[in-house]
């Protein structure tokens, strides 16, 4: 973990500028330390624990030497705590080669002892440091940098996107296996990065590397080969995202911006996919996907809650479905066969746990579908079918608009797989954007947040489609406020969690619709209220739940599905304002990274 960047510029381009811009664009992938290596006759390395801004401070002593070649890294610790020493880039003892790496080298202990036997002294606790020493060993054996790099990488087992620079060379060498790596083709030089935002300011033309491929990048050329050195031809894709999409447009945090972008994101997600005249969901992307067997969703975190939402709808519409945490999905945990459909839900399309589960499903012969936000991501490329949620880039670590878009997209997937034809459902989905706008216009979440900022713990309950929303509400709050928050199925409260509630533990209850489910949830609320516990109802006013609630977060009266998607927005705002009142680092909560590319 977590983000790498590389640049080889035409003479006169300052690589450091490009690298620092790139690192800022990658900070969402991790930010406990950062570093750069600049190469020409010799290699200069600068690295620091902390965010990219601490690295900037370290660079004050750097004499601008006009180096046009370099690599950079922003780290999220897996091996060894965050420290200057463990920050990338890592070099060999004589500073002939510098390496940045995203991923995990699984055989690093074995490689390390072999290198130690050769007298190598390690200066960090990272798995990555074996790489420059392996390359140095190949150099000493008389190999040129290109061959040395390939020979060294060939000894690695595990996941990696690796880039290296050599002293006296104006070339960057790179390799990819199970970690994202994309090349940028620019006018002033060539780029590589874990993700496109790192260099989108400079170019929108990209090449996505595949696993097992090597790239050799100079100012004039980019060549991609396989492990034996055979050239591979790649198409150049053009990215349609606007570089300025990364701006906060006047909001204090990306998270608040992204919460407010949800009506637009939902419109994009639904556009051209809903035909109200026929009552059909029209997903061309899924043409030919007709499940005979059980549908299994695999996902992590917020995406898992969206997966539960999708599985609930599939079950209601007559197809067996389940949501499984991707990290719990391994050999034999779920029966798989050629009839199985496995749907991976991942915002980034790079989530390591989800990718591993999808690869396992592929091997078992199951049909795989990726529901993702990132075009050209690993998930999109390695599955049989892909549905993009079209939410646009999300920078805040806490997922907001991508959850709403996932809920909408998975509703469409469920309708499509079950051939569920319903004008009511189409109307429901078409009302979501407006419903969210109404909540954004009128929400009292800020005032309610203020009343509960000092609570000891927070509980969220819901039933049916509101159950995954309750889980998501709790996750959002814990992620960004660092307060203890848990979500429960409303009916489960009395089976244990009720022992936890008290006067300083507000219960946030989702009650949408006016049917039996809502009435049962009100029964659960009464149990809580009777014990003097503060209750905040998130409701559309179709029941009398407000009689038992201390506060109400109102949502407009909408059909099922829409009401649950819209109700979640109140919980996003609640989490945002509580975290804001507590002065938390909302866009970059401690210990968390946006795209988790380690298992």
């Amino acid at each position: 973990m977590c983000g790498i960047i590389g640049f080889v510029g035409q003479p006169g381009n300052d690589a450091l500028d490009v690298l620092m811009t790139g690192l800022s664009g990658l900070e969402y992938r991790g930010y406990d330390s950062a570093g750069v290596a600049l190469a020409n006759a010799s290699i200069e390395v600068y690295k620091r624990e902390g965010e990219v801004s601490s690295l900037e401070a370290a660079l004050e002593n750097h004499q601008a030497g006009g180096q046009s070649v370099g690599i950079g890294h922003t780290r999220w610790s897996t091996h060894g705590p965050p420290s200057d020493r463990n920050a990338h880039p890592h070099t060999d003892a004589e500073n002939r080669v510098a390496v940045v790496h995203n991923g995990i080298i699984e055989n690093y202990e074995a490689l390390k002892s072999s290198l130690r036997n050769d007298g190598v002294v390690f200066t960090s606790e990272t798995d990555t440091e074996v790489v420059p020493h392996l390359i140095a060993r190949e150099l000493e054996a008389g190999r040129d940098p290109k061959t040395a790099f390939r020979e060294a990488i060939g000894q690695l087992a595990g996941s990696y996107a690796i880039a290296a620079v050599f002293e006296g060379s104006e070339t960057v060498y790179a390799a990819r296996n199970e970690s994202p790596l994309v090349l940028g083709i620019g006018d002033d030089g060539h780029y590589l990065a874990s993700d496109v935002p790192a260099f989108i300011e400079y170019t929108d033309r990209v090449i996505y590397l595949d696993d097992g491929e090597y790239a050799t990048i100079t100012a004039d050329t980019v060549t991609v080969t396989d492990a034996t050195g055979q050239p591979i031809t790649h198409d150049i894709d053009t990215i349609e995202w606007d570089a300025e999409d990364a701006g906060k447009s006047g909001y204090d945090h990306y998270m608040l911006k992204e919460i407010n972008e949800q009506p637009t994101a939902i419109r994009e997600c639904l556009r051209g996919r809903l035909n109200e005249l026929t009552g059909r969901v029209e997903l061309e992307e899924l043409a030919g996907l007709d499940p005979d067997g059980v549908v299994t969703f695999v996902a992590c975190g917020t995406s898992y809650h969206a997966a539960m939402f999708g599985a609930t709808l599939l079950n209601r519409w007559g197809v067996d479905a389940r949501a499984v945490l991707a990290s719990e999905f391994d050999g034999g945990s779920v029966p798989l066969g050629p009839d199985s459909v496995v749907i991976g839900v991942t915002q980034s399309g790079e989530t390591a746990d989800t990718m591993r589960a999808l690869r396992e499903a592929n091997r078992a012969g199951a049909t795989t579908l990726a529901v993702t936000n990132v075009v050209g991501s690993s998930a999109a490329r390695e599955t049989d079918y892909t549905l993009y949620i079209r939410a646009g880039p999300e920078i805040g670590v806490a997922a907001t608009k991508t959850f709403a878009s996932q809920q909408a997209a998975l509703t469409m997937v469920a309708a499509s797989l079950t051939d569920h034809r319903s004008r009511e459902l189409i109307q429901s989905l078409r009302s979501v954007a407006n419903g969210i706008q109404q909540v954004l216009d009128d929400s009292s979440a800020r005032a309610i947040a203020e009343a509960y900022t000092e609570a000891r713990a927070y509980f969220f309950i819901g039933r049916g489609l509101d159950y995954p929303v309750a889980l998501e509400g709790a996750l959002k709050l814990k992620e960004i406020s660092y307060k203890h928050a848990e979500g429960f199925a409303a009916g489960e409260l009395k089976h244990g969690p009720l022992a936890l509630v008290g006067e300083d533990t507000p219960v946030f209850a989702l009650v949408t619709g006016g049917g039996k489910r809502a009435e049962k949830t009100i029964g659960n609320i009464k149990e809580v209220e009777a014990r003097g516990v503060p209750v905040v109802a998130v409701t559309d006013g179709q029941t009398e739940v407000d009689r038992y609630a201390d506060h109400v977060l109102e949502v407009p009266e909408l059909p099922e599905v829409a009401s649950s998607i819209v109700a979640n927005v109140q919980l996003q705002l609640l989490a945002y304002w509580i975290a804001n009142d507590l002065g938390r680092s909302i866009d970059k909560p401690r210990h968390l990274a946006k795209s988790v590319t380690v298992e």
């Binding site: 701006g247 447009s249 109200e276 216009d441």
Partner: protein, 398 residues
């Protein structure tokens, strides 16, 4: 001249357009199918502006979330006027964006690109402290009137401005202040030097004060200038934009139009709209995105904002709706001339069927007598007859 910076003042509510402004500022009301402010940005960008600072205040969120960080690749910088204390105060909020001559326009008026070009050209030649766009028209009472001295006119150098008056009521000859200015840093001192009248610091007062010591010129321009003062003006603006061809009559590719529906041009049917079987839409109808017309609905001469549903069999004429409005099955907005009460004045013989503000819900089978105004978030129960004004949030049965 190229590479201009511009400041757009978009912080005010526009209270005469209530109840349409309950949830959004006037710049976000629809001129035909897109917000007035979007037309303003487009005009600026077409005139060569490459950097826009937007002063937001009232319901700022609606502006920021609609446009995001750029418009047509031109960066938008948002500054917030925390308290709405007048147009002068608003410009002070954008103080850091004034570095040399800077174009300043209002975000709630449609201004022709020619006016902007004339003001920029005149300022470049005459190099005064401020240049104002002036429009020859008699109709200045509702706006700002500008007096000029034309005795030694040289057209390229502009015309010397002698006096600027808000809402002039006398018989003297005025030009209309188009609200298109070029200022430099001197305007900031002028704003600060003026004692705020009734708590509000006005840009007009600041220009008056600037006139006393510095040269202020006017660029007399012939070009279209439109301001929506009352809700029915939105119908007129849409008509004008369709007639002039500024907004093209079209049906978007992603709209679903039933084979048995009738589209009478000019109309604008944007993305995600649904037109049901037997429905008739047009002429002179501007729909927002994701609008639905049910089976056999008839909509003529209307501005219907995003996400609104007009259900089966409803008839809607001369009507303005906000966002997310529901007009229920079988309801009728009769249309035609009306006497409309706005605030404490009555406007007679206005072509105005009805206004339903954002999120208003009509359950169906209702009749809207010409001139009816339904407030934001209000509910009209099935089978009502609606006359006059229904306040925001009310539920009525009439």
């Amino acid at each position: 001249m190229t590479d201009h910076s511009a400041i757009v003042l978009a912080a005010g509510e526009g209270s005469r357009l209530r109840p349409l402004t309950k949830h959004r500022p006037k710049p976000m009301l629809p001129a035909a199918t897109k917000p007035i402010l979007e037309h303003v940005f487009d005009t600026l960008i077409d005139a060569g502006v490459t950097d826009i600072t937007v002063v937001v205040g009232y319901q700022a969120n609606r502006v920021q979330s609609h446009f995001g960080p750029t418009h047509r690749n031109v960066p938008l910088t948002y500054v917030t006027q925390e308290k709405l204390l007048g147009s002068g105060h608003a410009l002070l909020a954008a103080e850091s964006a004034i570095d040399g001559p800077t174009l300043v326009v209002y975000g709630d008026q449609l201004v022709d690109g020619d006016i902007i070009a004339d003001v920029l050209d005149t300022h470049a030649v005459a190099d005064p402290a401020a240049t104002l766009g002036l429009i020859p028209t008699r109709d200045v009472e509702e706006y700002g009137g500008v007096r000029v001295d034309r005795s030694h006119d040289e057209p390229e150098n502009g015309t010397t401005v002698t006096e600027i008056v808000e809402n002039p009521r006398d018989d003297r000859e005025y030009y209309l202040n188009a609200g298109v200015y070029v200022f430099d840093e001197r305007v900031l001192d002028a704003i600060r030097s003026v004692d705020p009248a009734v708590g509000e610091s006005s840009l007009i007062d600041a220009i008056s004060s600037l006139l006393a010591s510095e040269s202020v010129v006017g660029a007399i321009a012939d070009g279209v200038w439109v301001d929506a003062t009352y809700p029915w003006d939105l119908l007129q603006i849409a008509d004008d934009l369709l007639t002039e061809g500024d907004v093209e009559s079209q049906v978007a590719a992603s709209a679903y139009v039933h084979d048995a529906a009738t589209v009478v041009e000019p109309v604008v049917v944007p993305e995600d709209c649904v037109i049901g079987p037997g429905a008739v839409v047009g002429p002179n109808v501007c729909l927002g995105e994701n609008v639905t017309l049910g089976a056999n609905a008839t909509v003529t001469h209307a501005v219907v904002d995003s996400d609104t549903r007009i259900e089966d069999g409803a008839t809607v004429r001369d009507c303005v709706t906000g966002r997310g409005v529901l007009i229920g099955p079988g309801s009728t907005v009769v249309g035609g001339p009306a006497d409309v009460e706005i605030g404490d004045s009555i406007h007679r013989d206005v072509d105005f069927g009805a206004l339903l503000a954002d999120y208003a819900t009509d359950e169906g089978g209702s009749t809207f007598v010409p001139g009816a105004v339904v407030g934001a978030d209000a509910t009209v129960q099935a089978g009502s007859v609606i006359r006059g004004n229904i306040e925001d949030d009310l539920e009525v049965r009439g």
